[in-house]
Symmetry: C2
């Protein structure tokens, strides 16, 4: 897992809860599809440093190639909480 900064976030049209993120990991950028659009707006995610699983095979989700997975905390009832990392943590830092 690595620390990435959400540089852009937009809903994927004709989906109920998919948000497409452009994430900066310092040495590279990746497109990430997150399925939390039922609980968060794209602007809630913009500018946040969060944690991503980066060693997965890219996956086509609703026509978009997702190149990492956003890590969140999820309550038993499905309520999702973002996990943000302090500003001082450099992009691309390893999380383990």
């Amino acid at each position: 897992m690595r620390v990435g900064l959400v540089k852009n976030a937009e809903r994927i049209p004709r989906t109920r809860k998919l948000i497409k993120l452009s994430v900066d990991f310092g040495d590279e950028s990746r497109i990430v599809v997150a399925g939390i659009g039922d609980q968060y707006q794209p602007e809630d995610l913009m500018g946040k440093k969060m944690i991503f699983v980066v060693n997965l095979k890219p996956k086509n989700i609703a026509g978009v190639e997702s190149q990492a997975m956003l890590i969140v905390a999820e309550e038993a009832d499905g309520k999702v909480h973002l996990i943000t990392v302090e500003d001082e943590v450099p992009l691309g830092s390893k999380v383990w």
Copy 2:
């Protein structure tokens, strides 16, 4: 991974950087050995909600059975940053 609260933290004697944590996951408590005592004091960790890998085999570290692994962010030069979760996230919440 799950969200846990550090209820107690103490150095493991005769080790350079091992700290023994007692972590509350809501429905259970676990002992966790973390190797960040060169950069953090036990009192830095006390009372913090953090993320733990809980599906590992228990591991004996310096004579203490560690029953989970603390997740932190690590810079390329080895500097470690804690990843804390907001107070409102219930103990035991799944992180994925």
